[in-house]
Symmetry: C2
Subunit: 177 residues, 2 copies
């Protein structure tokens, strides 16, 4: 008797139940794929939510705000376009977000020298200090999460996740913009 039979349904017994019904009642064939993507999605959401709630929100940053500041911090002054690519956001999202981060005094926006259309994003001094500070907490928390896996397992996981998304030229993926 499984948890799903007893009425105590958690994520894993749901996955089990879903697999069973999808294959037996409906004849769908790619159970493992479903299980993989369900698990991937869930893991990412749980970790992200925890980091946002425990590290960033208390300091007044949204998850996206942090990501934008993070890439700007480490990849130097960046064109907005590039920042969008690196963070995986749309250009519009970067534009909106930059507006609020500029008014918070964390980010600075100046016209690009070579291309008159472009905008260069960089951290203000305050923004830089803030990132060093915030990342300290962020990195400790990351380590707590990753720490349940051995370094070996972490490397394998990174490798597999990477393989999952980089071999995607084999079919045409819908990406942003």
């Amino acid at each position: 008797m499984t948890a799903s039979d007893s009425g105590e349904l958690d994520f894993w017994s749901f996955v089990e139940l879903a697999n069973r019904r999808l294959s037996r009642e409906y004849g769908f064939r790619h159970q493992l794929a479903t299980e993989l993507l369900l698990t991937l999605n869930r893991a990412s959401n749980i970790v992200t939510y925890d980091l946002e709630a425990s590290v960033h929100r208390p300091r007044g940053l949204s998850w996206s705000g942090f990501r934008l500041l993070f890439v700007t911090w480490l990849a130097g002054p960046l064109e907005a376009k590039k920042a969008a690519e690196l963070t995986g956001m749309s250009r519009a999202a970067v534009s909106n977000l930059a507006k609020t981060l500029v008014s918070d005094g964390l980010l600075s926006r100046e016209p690009g020298a070579r291309d008159g259309r472009s905008v260069l994003l960089s951290l203000t001094d305050t923004g830089h200090q803030e990132m060093v500070e915030v990342f300290r907490a962020h990195n400790e928390r990351e380590d707590e999460w990753a720490g349940v896996l051995s370094p070996e397992e972490q490397r394998i996981l990174i490798m597999l996740l990477d393989k999952l998304v980089t071999n995607r030229d084999q079919f045409d993926v819908r990406g942003r913009n």
Copy 2:
């Protein structure tokens, strides 16, 4: 010379650059954890975005709408609370979403028998047909994604992702509501 040195910055050369700067310039120690969570987040976002854009949006469903219908479909009539747990959404999100899905004629909402406060969600006939239909496309797409990994690799990936999130009782994680 790496891509990041040459100015052609993509996700991977950014991660490399970030690792270098975080450890050499700032002395942060948990590089692998950062890399893991960055990769996890990115993989999940890419796959999710693709599924939503290629399968669900064209049929008028949002990603969350699909997830709610999916658990309702397979886990039978469900209390809203349970649906929130299984999908990882907040109770408020389920409530909002249910409202629109009900008015789309896909979902039905009736008062729970045993508990007067609760609401039971189930699919309408239309909703059921729709899910069988939509999931066909969804599952094919999932298979295209998962297909770049061998079944063995997929199982390892699932196992590692699971381990990452289930051993989290060791520290107090911030979850939804």
